[in-house]
């Protein structure tokens, strides 16, 4: 019952009407507006937009929009950023079904049967089932977050510094194990991220560390600068290499309503996909990406006639689509309750919180209940809006696919420059972002993934602090990390996970999952 009381409190935050100055640049013009729900809508729309546009991912977009949210209040800012994230899941599946392009990594599986359905003239049914499945998954995931939030937070508040340190180690190892490509390279990215997080003034002594004598670096590398450079700009540079090969298939979408049989066929896959996605999403590391693959495999195994899969089986759309949305949302659980970002998007969310002066971790729920429950309730509201708005707008989204990248990237670049500049009104930040972009490009070119770096960067400062505290409390003994039961458990899980990731047979399987 408490869960529902909390969620209703959250809904109240989402629909709260606040007087806003809508034209701060041109005198004052104050209007009462339900700001949070509008931001939720804007976020969900931007998310869908970038989900539709190939070559513009949610990570880069959220990184790019981060500076703009500085002026908003933290609850509104996070509601909008969250909206972008799950909106992108919807957009990604739209293009997967209509034009066989997975807008996002999580909708790769949807192309298999979704596009086949579209070819058979059943695009409408596929889109509708994907949206309904996503909405159902979103609703369940919202409840899962609300139910798990309280006990997990209570648990996390009992953590000592050593436990916390080990938990973060475990989170990082999961991120490494579930990253694409070489485990060693992902580990290297993690340590590089940790090292980068130490740049700036030392918390205790105030000494300058690795700042190269630059005054601008005395507060450390600005998170938005690093994220936008190493992910956003690097992505643009990467995209420029591949000349556009988009077939502009104009699929006619007719008959949005699925048949009764469609509903019957999809009901169980949606439920199963939701469960699979929810569980995988909670895992630290990018579990949400695995959800759709797992769901597709399960549906194919359970089907009476597996040969239908790949030829337009509606179960192959319903299951994975539900799984990806559920996973995208339950990924918020480790971030909100423990302060551990399971993927790069969550790392950016944590960055956004830090910028607004909120310390990520279990104390959020106690100190900022408005933010915590408001954000969770907004996800459900956002999913509902996406369900209602998206289907009628499919035509517009398809049109948007025709915007050529050569017009897109200069605009994105200008947005980024303005955004970065306005964080601190520092031209230095813009130059630094450029440098980070070049470095990010170098990393991509040599098979390094930037996500673990970003996650480690976000956790770095806290890890150093907890390590210092733990060692101080234990009077210099490193044994404290294995003597405390919680800490020891986390470390054991981390080691097991790392060993598994390094085992050749499992590595092969993992590669198969990612290349399938």
């Amino acid at each position: 019952m408490e869960v529902f009381a909390n969620l209703i409190g959250g809904l109240w935050v989402v629909f709260k009407i606040v007087p806003v100055d809508i034209m701060p640049g041109a005198g004052s013009f104050i209007v009462p507006l339900p700001v949070n729900v509008l931001l939720c809508l804007v976020g969900a729309m931007i998310g869908t937009l970038i989900g539709v546009l190939p070559g513009v991912g949610p990570i880069a977009t959220i990184a790019m929009l981060l500076p703009i949210t500085y002026k908003l209040d933290p609850t509104g800012a996070l509601i909008m950023l969250a909206g972008i994230y799950y909106g992108a899941q919807y957009g990604g599946s739209t293009t997967a079904i209509l034009v066989n392009i997975p807008g996002e990594a999580t909708s790769v599986v949807t192309t298999l049967d979704g596009f086949q359905m579209a070819k058979q003239g059943r695009a409408g049914a596929a889109l509708a089932i994907a949206a309904i499945g996503s909405f159902f998954a979103g609703t369940v995931a919202t409840l899962v977050i609300a139910v798990l939030g309280v006990p997990l937070t209570a648990l996390a508040l009992k953590f000592g510094p050593a436990d916390y340190f080990s938990l973060m180690i475990m989170g990082l190892i999961f991120a490494v194990a579930l990253a694409r490509g070489s485990v060693l390279k992902a580990l290297i990215m993690v340590t590089l991220g940790l090292l980068a997080s130490t740049i700036g003034s030392d918390l205790e002594s105030g000494e300058q560390r690795l700042t190269l004598g630059l005054l601008e670096l005395s507060d450390g590398i600005e998170f938005a600068v690093l994220a936008m450079g190493i992910i956003g700009f690097a992505e643009i540079l990467r995209n420029l290499e591949n000349p556009e090969t988009r077939d502009l298939v104009q699929a006619k979408v007719t008959g949005l309503m699925p048949t009764k049989q469609d509903f019957k066929d999809s009901a169980m896959p949606i439920v199963r996909g939701t469960i699979i996605g929810s569980i995988l999403g909670i895992l630290p590391g990018n579990g949400a990406v695995l959800g759709p693959f797992a769901s597709y495999t399960v549906e194919k195994k359970l089907a009476k006639d597996p040969s239908r899969f790949g030829r337009g089986a509606i179960e192959g759309v319903a299951g994975p689509e539900s799984a990806n949305n559920a996973g995208a949302q339950t990924a918020f659980i480790p971030m909100l309750t423990l302060g551990i970002p399971p993927n790069a998007v969550m790392a950016i969310m944590i960055g956004a919180m830090t910028i607004h002066g909120i310390v990520p971790g279990p104390q959020i729920m106690q100190k900022q209940p408005e933010l915590f429950w408001g954000m969770i309730a907004s996800m459900w509201v956002g999913n509902l809006m996406l369900l209602i708005i998206n289907l009628p707008m499919v035509g517009i989204w398809v049109k948007l696919l025709q915007v050529p990248y050569r017009m897109l990237f200069p605009a994105i670049l200008l947005f980024c420059c303005i955004g970065i500049y306005s964080v601190n009104n520092q031209p230095f930040d813009v130059l630094m972002t450029g440098a980070c972009g070049l470095f990010g490009y170098f990393l991509v070119k040599n098979g390094f993934e930037a996500a673990p770096l970003l996650i480690a960067f976000v956790l770095g400062k806290l890890m150093e602090e907890k390590l210092r505290q733990a060692v101080l409390i234990s009077r210099g003994s490193m044994a404290v990390f294995i003597e405390r039961p919680l800490s020891a458990t986390f470390l054991v899980v981390a080691v097991v996970m790392l060993v598994f990731a390094l085992l050749p047979s499992i590595r092969k399987k993992r590669d198969e999952v990612f290349t399938e």
């Binding site: 002026k71 060693l184 420029l240 200008l414 813009v430």
Partner: protein
């Protein structure tokens, strides 16, 4: 997975790992040197340099491991580095950073968009210019006006 024809041969079997390992090893060494004047452990208390040095050593060790593995494990060849994209993109970003305070968004914005647009081979100057002006006008409305960001709009010498 890359097929065999794309893999390195000869002494260095995985060129990407070699280059990446070397670069990151260099970063670790440089950072370690840069940290040399920072405090170390005092009793049970961490010095300001303790944790960064720890991360440095770890990074160095892992990078070395990657470097060594590039001699034994086969991996993909180095990708070609096209110069045009990065050059124009970085030039436009640098231009923005260096001139925004002097020229203001109205001028800097247009040139930034044009410069970055030139990053692709089939850049069309006429279409590009119109687009650059339009997008700058949009940003000039959105950022300083609607969002109230304190970004200079016009060149300083015009004010």
């Amino acid at each position: 997975m890359a097929d065999n024809s794309e893999e390195g041969s000869g002494l260095i079997k995985s060129p990407q790992d070699f280059v990446g390992g070397l670069a990151l090893l260099a970063i670790a060494v440089a950072a370690f040197i840069g940290l040399s004047n920072l405090g170390s452990m005092r009793g049970f208390q961490f010095g300001s340099g303790t944790a960064p040095r720890l991360f440095c050593l770890l990074l160095g060790a892992l990078a070395l491991l990657l470097l060594l593995s590039s001699f034994t494990t086969r991996g993909p060849k180095l990708e070609s580095f096209p110069w045009r994209g990065p050059l124009f993109i970085l030039a436009s970003v640098a231009f923005f950073g260096l001139t925004i305070r002097i020229l203001g968004l109205a001028v800097t914005g247009v040139i930034t968009v044009l410069l970055s647009g030139a990053a692709i081979d089939d850049f069309r100057i006429k279409e590009g210019t119109i687009f650059a002006i339009a997008i700058t006008a949009f940003c000039a409305f959105l950022f300083p006006f609607a969002l109230g960001q304190p970004i200079p709009l016009w060149p300083t010498f015009l004010q």
